[in-house]
């Protein structure tokens, strides 16, 4: 385990990665974190400040300067960010003028913290410097990667917080990141065990969330080293949903929610975002405009896997765009600098352009293999609608999808199956099906009503007519439906504990689609209170609902997009 953690610490590539770990680590060791690392604001060499006792020492003010990787000669004294410059700045500026008055009497320890090791060539410099400046009240200490690993193991991942069973599963999760499904299963075992511990003892909850956060970091870094972040992505999603489920009852109440858990929630959200962005920038962004490049990058000979993989990709990208939009709204509300808002907006524009390019350049995205992929389609709709509508693109995409729905339905070959098991999906694509096989494979559809509603709203008569035709001729047995949040969803949607919500059925697919739109609008209004009643909606964290939909493969509730099909919406046809 120690080897695992030491490698993890050594693999933290970015400065802000170690920054993210250290506060949780020192908190778990009993220190109180006073200031957390942040980028941009001037801190006079101090990346983090904490107060408390370590190893029976008297209460001390710890001032951390955090560096990345190994420290060699160049890191010691070259430039403003060098170790020596930071230490000088702490002594010259921070200690003399920035120590909070309540801690002014405490002894101070300056901690040089880094993930790797101090090179031998620099050792004399460190010894000389500390000997020269050390006093009764000012001490120096060095926390290298090995020490940080020890501290993580004795603190945040200690046996008290990570019992043997959880530890075993955690080790398996980390070791098997190249088989993400198995790794994720083991991580979920850890998550469930720790969640139960937190439920059993409220007072342990903050510590446990720290343990989970660090565990997630470890998993991510190992997954990244293995060049397969899938397990970490899924684990981050599940962790975030778990934290929200733990915290949701506190939000919106008078007393503030537990700050430790709230911080952990933010950290996991950030990590979730980092995991996706790193993956996206490294493997996807450069190839969005090359026809078929991403489909080919899946390196599989099975068309079903290509389809599933590509829809998974656009679903995740769309969800990321939705979070980015949400975060942009927050930045605007918080009145942050215009440049930061502009940069975020530019990033969203880029991602939206990429999303459209991916769809245009990988035609496999014009028809899913199974109905449950309606989730990804819904997420793309929401991402596009919330990022400036992009109706032309949606209409073109859905026109192409309509053509394929029509063709595959008419020929009983390749129509998205309502089956969910992988084996059954494979069977549903086994050439032209008999009537009996086709009917069994297409018992329900959420995709057809979704596409039909949009095409009707666009006034695209050809597409509406095709959908009506194929429905009448081939899909008379199919229950056309969509899913709505219900009164029982708040208790179940985040962790999918039980079936919940409402299936809106008997949707008619006709040439005009007028009745379909009318029913969808009515159903949307009738269940608005249920959606508004969700803690995520109440507190403004609406993307969590979409994240839950993605994670558990639920259709995106129509309230997220039905507004875009309003009668008073100028770009859309009047019905």
């Amino acid at each position: 385990m120690k080897l695992l953690i030491r490698d993890f610490v050594a693999s933290l590539r970015e400065r802000n990665e170690l920054d993210a770990i250290i506060p949780d680590m020192v908190s778990a060791l009993g220190l109180t974190v006073l200031t957390r690392p942040s980028i941009g604001t001037r801190q006079f060499g101090v990346d983090m400040a904490a107060v408390g006792r370590l190893d029976d020492a008297p209460e001390t003010l710890y001032l951390f300067t955090i560096k990345m990787g190994n420290i060699g000669r160049g890191d010691w004294s070259n430039g403003e960010q060098s170790v020596r410059a930071s230490l000088d700045e702490i002594r010259d500026v921070y200690i003399s003028s920035h120590v909070p008055p309540e801690f002014a009497e405490l002894p101070i320890q300056i901690v040089l913290c880094f993930g790797g090791e101090l090179r031998e060539a620099v050792l004399p410099n460190w010894s000389g410097y500390t000997a020269q400046h050390q006093t009764e009240l000012l001490k120096f200490s060095m926390w290298n990667g090995d020490k940080v690993a020890d501290m993580i193991l004795t603190g945040v991942l200690g046996s008290e917080l990570l019992p043997v069973a959880a530890r075993r599963s955690f080790q398996k999760a980390v070791a098997l990141t190249d088989e993400p499904e198995v790794s994720f299963e083991h991580f979920c075992k850890v998550l469930n065990l720790l969640r139960k511990m937190a439920d059993d003892d409220d007072t342990q909850a903050p510590k446990i969330t720290r343990t989970i956060t660090i565990a997630l970091w470890v998993l991510y870094v190992w997954a990244r080293e293995n060049d397969n972040i899938e397990a970490a992505y899924l684990a981050a999603e599940r962790t975030f949903l778990t934290f929200w489920d733990m915290l949701k009852d506190d939000f919106g109440k008078k007393e503030k929610p537990d700050q430790v858990i709230a911080v952990a929630l933010t950290q996991v959200l950030n990590l979730f975002s980092v995991i996706f962005e790193n993956f996206y920038d490294a493997k996807v962004a450069a190839f969005v405009s090359v026809p078929q490049a991403l489909a080919m990058a899946l390196r599989t000979q099975n068309p079903i896997d290509v389809n599933l993989g590509m829809f998974e990709l656009i679903g995740r990208l769309a969800l990321h765009i939705i979070w980015q939009n949400w975060s942009l709204d927050k930045l605007i509300k918080d009145d942050v600098e215009v440049d930061e808002i502009a940069a975020r907006r530019k990033r969203i524009d880029t991602l939206v352009t990429h999303l459209k390019e991916i769809v245009n350049n990988n035609q496999v995205l014009n028809l899913p293999v199974c109905d449950r992929q309606v989730t990804e389609i819904g997420l793309v709709l929401v991402a596009l609608v919330y990022s400036g509508r992009h109706y032309d693109f949606i209409e073109n995409w859905f026109s192409a999808m309509t053509m394929r729905l029509w063709m595959t339905g008419t020929r009983r070959s390749g129509f998205p199956t309502s089956k969910q098991a992988y084996r059954e999906i494979v069977l549903s694509r086994n050439g032209r099906l008999t009537d009996e096989e086709f009917n069994a494979s297409t018992k329900g559809s959420t995709i057809v009503p979704l596409v039909a509603a949009w095409m009707a709203a666009f006034g695209n008569k050809e597409a509406s007519s095709r959908l009506a035709q194929v429905t009448e001729k081939r899909l008379a047995h199919t229950t056309m439906q969509t899913w709505l949040v219900g009164a029982d969803s708040e208790a179940n949607i985040y962790l999918d504990q039980n079936e919940h919500g409402v299936a809106l059925t008997d949707l008619k697919i006709t040439e005009t689609g007028a009745e379909l739109l009318e029913i969808l609008r009515k159903a949307s209004n009738d269940t608005k209170s249920d959606l508004d009643g969700l803690s995520a909606t109440r507190t403004g964290f609406y993307p969590i609902i979409l994240l839950a939909c993605r994670h558990w493969h639920l259709p995106v509730p129509l309230q997220f997009w039905i507004g875009a099909l309003g009668e008073d919406n100028p770009p859309l046809a009047q019905l």
Partner: protein, 560 residues
């Protein structure tokens, strides 16, 4: 010499020739000492298998004309021999002997005619051989007027089968005209057509007679008349008798597609007689008439005929260019399907569009549709593209050709196709289209290949295993099904070797001098492998590929 002895002698001679035996059989029979007619009542003959019978059937056929007999006896004997032959194609051979017997015994032939006219029976059933033996045209024309259909048919068949010339065209035409006023059974109609063709051969002024017959509705189920029609199409002089040709072809197209044997026979009949010039005339007719007036079905018998035409090099180029380039979209789709099944690759290299005189829009249709129809034969499609545009100077056509070579061809196939395009010499590709396409495709492939593997979305080991098992099951099932239906496998016995690289067995073989001895059979094992290159899009976007091909097949560029 009893019938047992005759049988033994016949069996001993078998397929060989033995004039002595024939002479002996005839002499014994005609002397009354041993009638050959007893042979058919011999229990060993009755029990005999067909193969043994056919081994000496020819000897009997040659004996028949020289036998002394009355009409009833000779017909009884011949009918018994024919029956012994069963449904085999050779079973009718003794009838030739009967025809020859009547040509020698013309009085007996006249007796047979008289008997047939007066009563039904075996003599009436075999009247045609008597008439052919008699070779009297006047008697035949007289019998055509009979009210008994079997007699009419025998007379018409005798006239139409060409065993003797039809010279009394005026009389014949008059009789036929009087007959076709009445409703005709299909067998009669077919026979009338056959005779009408004979009349027209010597007297073209009676072309209208054949036209009259050909506008009659044929019964498509029985299909008998269509054999005759096929003969008319393949042999009638088109230039002089365009109307006949057209009518016959129209009738032919009404054949019931369910009647597979008829369709195949028609295609065979047409194909075997066609010359380039004749084929061209048929093509012209098909284009001008059929494509405008009749939507062909892919199972139309004409498709078989078209495929037959494909074997002709010049016609192939003409048909391909004409149909894929100029024809209406729905027809090009059907023809494309037929072509894709039957085309031989090497023939296409000789396609010269300058000879055909296609306009740029036709060329664009041709190359686009060819890429659609021959997508699974990418080298063939590429050959058509290159050869079509090599003699065309339109930059728009070149641009389209290069685009098509890149997508859908090179973007889907990289093996044999790439090799073919890289080897094309400048003289065969004066505009450098292949080179341009290969370069563009290379750039695209490099861009695609540089994308790192998205291992994150790789299916789990569990799913991979499941998909692999399901695939294996499907392959095994298909393999078993194909073995069940294999004609080859039904004809042979198989051995399964558990060890070794060769099979060795010993069989006891007969030796003429030393009796039997063991002989070794040694067969070295050989491996057989087969590989196909699947188009990439069948993995990346199989439904999109289907749609794309439909689009390519149905593209129609308008003439400027």
């Amino acid at each position: 010499m009893n019938s047992d002895t005759i049988l033994d002698d016949l069996l001993e001679v078998g397929f060989s020739e033995d004039s002595e035996l024939k002479k002996k059989i005839i002499e014994n029979h005609n002397a009354g000492s041993n009638s050959i007619f007893c042979l058919v009542d011999n229990p060993r003959f009755i029990e005999m298998d067909q193969y043994s019978f056919f081994s000496f059937q020819h000897t009997l056929c040659e004996v028949i004309p020289a036998l002394d007999a009355n009409v009833e006896q000779i017909i009884d004997f011949v009918v018994a021999l024919v029956a012994k032959g069963g449904t085999d194609g050779m079973s009718g051979q003794p009838n030739a002997g009967l025809r020859n017997w009547f040509s020698i015994n013309t009085d007996a032939a006249m007796t047979a005619v008289a008997t047939a006219k007066s009563q039904p029976g075996l003599i009436r059933d075999n009247l045609v051989f008597a008439l052919e033996g008699l070779a009297d045209e006047a008697v035949c024309w007289e019998l055509v007027k009979s009210e008994v259909i079997e007699i009419q048919l025998s007379a018409l068949t005798a006239l139409g089968r060409g065993q003797f010339p039809v010279v009394e065209a005026d009389i014949g035409a008059a009789i036929l005209l009087s007959q076709i006023e009445q409703p005709l059974d299909e067998r009669l109609l077919a026979s009338f057509v056959l005779v009408a063709v004979k009349i027209i051969e010597s007297s073209p002024q009676y072309e209208g007679l054949l036209s009259e017959l050909l506008v009659r509705p044929f019964d498509p189920v029985k299909g008998i008349a269509h054999f005759t029609l096929a003969g008319v199409i393949s042999e009638a002089p088109i230039s002089e008798n365009a109307r006949i040709f057209e009518l016959a072809l129209k009738q032919l197209l009404n054949v019931n597609p369910e009647h597979k044997g008829t369709s195949a026979r028609i295609a065979f009949e047409l194909g075997k007689h066609l010359t380039s010039e004749r084929g061209r005339a048929i093509v012209d007719f098909v284009r001008d008439y059929l494509f405008k007036n009749k939507a062909l079905r892919s199972d139309d018998p004409l498709m078989g005929f078209i495929c037959k035409l494909m074997a002709n090099r010049k016609l192939f180029g003409y048909l391909l260019a004409d149909w894929l380039g100029r024809a209406a979209v729905e027809n090009s789709a059907l023809l494309g399907r037929a072509l894709a099944k039957s085309v031989e690759h090497s023939k296409v290299l000789n396609l010269d569009t300058s000879e055909i005189g296609l306009e740029p829009a036709h060329c664009m249709n041709l190359i686009t549709r060819a890429c659609g129809h021959f997508f699974t034969k990418p080298v063939l499609a590429a050959k058509i593209v290159i050869h079509t545009v090599s003699s065309i100077e339109e930059p728009e056509v070149h641009h389209l050709a290069a685009n098509l070579l890149v997508d859908p061809l090179l973007s889907n196939y990289a093996g044999e196709l790439l090799e073919f395009l890289q080897k094309i010499e400048a003289k065969d590709d004066p505009h450098g289209i292949a080179k341009l396409a290969v370069e563009r495709s290379k750039t695209h492939l490099e861009a695609i290949s540089s994308a790192p593997e998205l291992v994150e979305f790789r299916p789990s080991e569990r799913r991979r295993q499941m998909a692999s098992n399901m695939h294996s099951d499907a392959v095994n099932k298909a393999h078993q099904e194909s073995r069940k239906e294999s004609v080859f496998l039904s004809m042979i016995s198989t051995s399964t070797l558990l060890y070794g690289s060769r099979s060795r067995s010993y069989r006891r073989m007969a030796r003429s001098e030393d009796g039997e001895e063991l002989q070794m059979f040694d067969i070295p094992m050989q491996s057989i492998s087969h590989s196909i290159e699947l188009p990439r899009e069948s993995i990346f976007d199989e439904i999109g590929l289907e749609l794309r091909l439909i689009e390519l097949k149905h593209t129609g560029y308008a003439r400027k």
